[in-house]
């Protein structure tokens, strides 16, 4: 639906409303914004919002025509963040049936970088070429990296007999533009990489049909969703300077998702229950399939030439099925005791094509069994999993306005991963809440989670000179054994008539007991204080202060070779793939402690200076500081195996935003808003500081890397002046 259609519709409704003397209210607004900014790349300032100078607009319409009510909202017409939404509702005279509709459009531009550099011609298209080496960035082309996303959606809902309803939702999300997509040039990190500006031209169309029956005692729905994702550029080809040929990067495959869902809730009636003990039973089940079809590349560029990849089938047919079901039985055992029993199960089956790539040269083959099929072939992985969990919760409304909640849940998971195939979870939680004091509410929650997982790689590798032996010690924190402790404390205080305060403390610790290499422990702590004070007729203030600490600890093994060194006087390779062995200057364990600290504070003020004038202000400050401390294993002599340098600016940033605006109500029809805003965003990051377009080749066989500058200069300062005149009718 175009803007013209909506304006036409609005005029139609306005005319009809006038003819029937119906209460139709609304407003139109026109305004402007002026921007002065200072930055090397202002994309971060514009990341999700259109702060550019220019006109602003809004339109609102709310009213009714007999039993028909409607609401129209629109803003920023013609800008990158334009939004329009129309909702309506028609009701039968006896209120037994209702028809609702909705039409909307929402636009968003996601700006990633302005004036990015690239040595390629055709940047952002499916075919990009360049001549390498290209060592003078001044000769490169410039390109803005951003995507335009527009969502058009609509819904129809028809309720009849007050119990049955049907609802149809449809939407289309169109995304156009480009994005950063880098690529390795060779087969080793020393061969460098290139930043490519990849095309984005996709469309996702969703249709969801839902049928339902709702009454006080029973609610049930059946829904069907189909979601089709189409990618107009399934392949991007580009010049590879290292292999000296045309390379290809497959893009996201077009796919179709279909899902059937059933939901049902049987619950107590106001005066009697269909189930004993005033129970309610909730059931849900869904089955979804996702399909894709991709013509596989039959050749690939590698060292010195293009090689056949010999896929066992020309087309990969992806087919994944996700089934899930859940059941919740909530029961009021007594007036003060509620229980809840839950059961959930979820499984993924993967019947995608099994693809074997054979006779691959070195560099295209997948390595060594059992990690892969063989050194000259690759067999794809079809990931599946099963999850099952059951739990019980008991809530006791204890005397003295106490409430205690106990929970226990067990879970079981199976996966066809090589690192962990089975795990068992056991979760225990206790929660206490007290509202004994009229103006104080206190809550405390403690939870433990114990997960135990198997380690099928524990027998890998013939001995410690075999690279596979190292995998006996590598764990992945998402599935490995875990001991988790979590504490959460909160208090809310209404200290006086117009004074509310709150405090919240959260502590969470994960330990991975089986981890030798990988993440071994992580912690998260948060403290938050809030304060709200003021009389709505005079001055109101709202403030918060927050501290957050995150710490991730990990251990790794530095072995910069695929075979173990021979250390004299021994004539055989050392057992270097065993992390329990003593360190050498080339093979050693090292540990990292990665810390993130975030501090934030904010203040909002609404101050009615006069009957018709309100001054509003907001200040927001946030500082993020990251650091990594590293330690190398000690040599038998006691000295450190390596002189490792930690990082003190690891994603550091500081953001200050200040907004001051006034709302003046001149008359019942006219009102004016105007104000100023200031923002300063600073980044300091060891990964990006002093970024250059080239990373020069170092060492034999190495190759230059080519960077676009995307993400290199996110800092900005912005000053905005804005105003809006609003006429209500």
């Amino acid at each position: 639906m175009t803007r013209r259609h909506l304006l036409w519709l609005m005029g139609l409704w306005a005319g009809a409303a006038q003819a029937q003397d119906c209460a139709l209210t609304g407003a139109v607004g026109i305004g402007a914004v002026s921007l002065e900014e200072s930055s090397l790349d202002r994309a971060k300032l514009f990341e999700y919002r259109d702060t550019s100078g220019g006109l602003r607009s809004l339109i609102e319409l709310t009213g009714c025509i007999n039993a028909h009510t409607l609401k129209l909202e629109g803003e920023n017409l013609g800008r990158n963040d334009e939004r329009l939404n129309l909702q309506g509702r028609l009701q039968d005279a006896d209120a037994s049936g209702t028809f609702k509709y909705q039409l909307g459009r929402d636009s968003l531009r996601h700006n990633i970088a302005f004036d990015a550099r690239t040595p390629y011609s055709g940047a952002g298209s499916a075919q990009q070429s360049a001549t390498f080496p290209s060592l003078n960035p001044a000769t490169w082309s410039r390109v803005d990296v951003s995507t335009r996303r527009r969502k058009d959606d609509g819904a129809l809902e028809w309720s009849f007999s007050r119990a049955f309803y049907a609802r149809l939702d449809a939407s289309q999300i169109r995304t156009e533009g480009n994005k950063l997509q880098s690529a390795a040039q060779g087969t080793s990190p020393t061969h460098g990489f290139v930043d490519l500006i990849a095309p984005v031209d996709t469309r996702t169309r969703n249709v969801n049909l839902e049928l339902g029956y709702h009454s006080a005692a029973l609610a049930t729905t059946l829904s069907y969703l189909t979601s089709r994702f189409d990618n107009a550029t399934p392949l991007m080809s580009w010049s590879n300077g290292f292999f000296n040929g045309t390379d290809a990067s497959p893009q996201a495959p077009s796919n179709v998702l279909e899902r059937w869902s059933v939901n049902a809730v049987l619950r107590p009636m106001p005066l009697h229950s269909s189930l004993p003990l005033r129970s309610s039973l909730a059931l849900r089940a869904s089955t979804a399939s996702t399909r894709s079809a991709t013509d596989l590349l039959t050749s690939a560029l590698s060292t010195s030439a293009t090689y056949p990849t010999n896929p066992s089938e020309p087309t990969f047919r992806g087919r994944v099925r996700d089934d899930e079901a859940g059941l919740t039985l909530s029961t009021s055992l007594t007036r003060d005791i509620d229980t809840r029993l839950t059961f959930n199960t979820r499984r993924r089956d993967n019947s995608s094509s099994e693809i074997l790539f054979t006779d691959l040269p070195s560099g295209l083959g997948c390595g060594q069994a059992p990690l892969t099929a063989s050194t000259s072939s690759c067999l794809n992985e079809r990931f599946t999993f099963r999850h099952r969990a059951q739990g019980v919760q008991l809530t006791w409304r204890a005397p003295q306005d106490n409430r205690v909640l106990l929970g226990y849940e067990t879970g079981h998971a199976q996966r066809n991963r090589t690192d962990t195939t089975r795990s068992q979870d056991e979760r225990l939680s206790v929660e206490w809440k007290n509202q004994r004091l009229e103006n104080v509410s206190t809550r405390l929650k403690a939870q433990t989670l114990k997960r135990r997982a198997d380690m099928p790689r524990a027998t890998w590798g013939a001995d410690a000179t075999d690279p596979l032996y190292l995998q006996r010690f590598v764990t992945r924190y998402d599935v490995t054994s875990l001991d988790q402790t979590q504490l959460k404390f909160g208090v809310d205080v209404a200290a006086a008539t117009h004074l509310d305060g709150g405090a919240e403390v959260t502590l969470k610790r994960n330990r991975y007991p089986d981890a030798v290499l990988g993440r071994t422990q992580d912690e998260r702590s948060e403290v938050l204080l809030t304060l709200a004070w003021g009389d709505p007729r005079r001055l109101r203030m709202n403030a918060f202060v927050s501290w957050e600490w995150v710490r991730n600890q990990s251990t790794h093994r530095n072995i910069n070779a695929s075979t173990c060194p021979v250390i004299a006087p021994s004539l055989t390779p050392s057992p270097c793939f065993d992390p329990t062995q003593p360190a050498t200057t080339t093979v050693y364990n090292w540990s990292a402690t990665d810390r993130d600290r975030t501090q934030a504070a904010g203040l909002g003020v609404d101050w009615p200076l006069a009957e018709r004038f309100v001054l509003r202000g907001a200040v927001l400050w946030m500082r993020a500081q990251g650091a990594v401390a590293v330690n190398a294993q000690a040599l038998p002599s006691g000295a450190s195996a390596a002189d490792l340098v930690g990082i003190n600016n690891w994603g550091n940033s500081e953001h200050v935003a200040l907004t001051l605006k006034g709302d003046y109500r001149f008359s019942a029809q006219w009102s004016f808003t105007g104000g100023v805003s200031y923002e300063d965003m600073r980044f300091d990051d060891a990964q990006w500081n002093n970024a250059t377009p080239l990373v020069p080749a170092t060492g034999s066989g190495a190759t230059t890397s080519y960077l676009s500058g995307v993400g290199a200069h996110p800092s900005y300062t912005a000053k905005l002046v804005f105003m809006m005149a609003r006429y209500a009718f």
Binding site: V33, T69, F193, T202, F229, L364, A618, T659
Partner: protein, 294 residues
Amino acid sequence: MKSFPCLAWMGVLCAWAVHAQPLPCATCHPREAQSLHAGPHAPHQDHCGACHGQTQAHAQAMGREPVQQRFGKGEPTAQRDAACLSCHQDARTLMHWDAGAHKKAEVACVSCHSVHGGVQAKAPDPSISTWINTTRRSQVEACVGCHASVRVQLGKPSHHPLMEGKLACTDCHQPHGSPAASDLKDSTPTALCLSCHAEKRGPWVWPHPPVEENCLTCHRPHGANHSKLLSEKVPNLCQDCHDNVRHPGSYYGANQGFAPGSQSTRFVARACVNCHQAIHGSNAPGARGKFFTR
């Protein structure tokens, strides 16, 4: 005594008049009465008692007696909700109310809905946000009034566009209850993420298992200090799972940045992702796909 039936009748008439006519309520509460005109409760604007119960005593005592049904903080949640649920209990959006976190936490309907403030969620406190190009009242502001820690997350350098008004909390969460954890609108976080990020659905020749199972293994949906909503910077995040011969287990540090002489392609810019960019899955042949470099 002859006049008793007459007086009684007049009393009944007065009682009926007080009960049925809006005049006494609107006389003292004009803003509250007016506020219902344009909202979904407009058909009930003349029947304050539909929500507030018996109002005669309150009106007759000129406000010195409370109305039967009150909605202040001190009233029990179940009692406050009962008035709303008497009409809305069979609403389809409340289907999973009993299973939801808000019911469990005894959050009342009026904690979020301001019946006399229109259909929008109320924003009780002054806004604390950067300037955004909208005049609409932000749903986020209503939610972070209680979920204050989420406000901090949403303000981090990498975030979904909630504070910008282009997404709402209810795009992901169902505040009226859901059978899923965290009252998500979809059964799992991954299913929810893929409803918007459809390009990451695959199915892939080479899937990355943690991606398939749970997006939250690597991403913080409410906001992060590091780009792409990552919970930890790369290469640290990747190295938390991957250790092998050569570069996955190597140390990378501050002396390998862009400063001349020591740059490492595994440290600068996006580190591992400079080469392994197809980290959500790949359809490229052989090692190019298996190791997510194409």
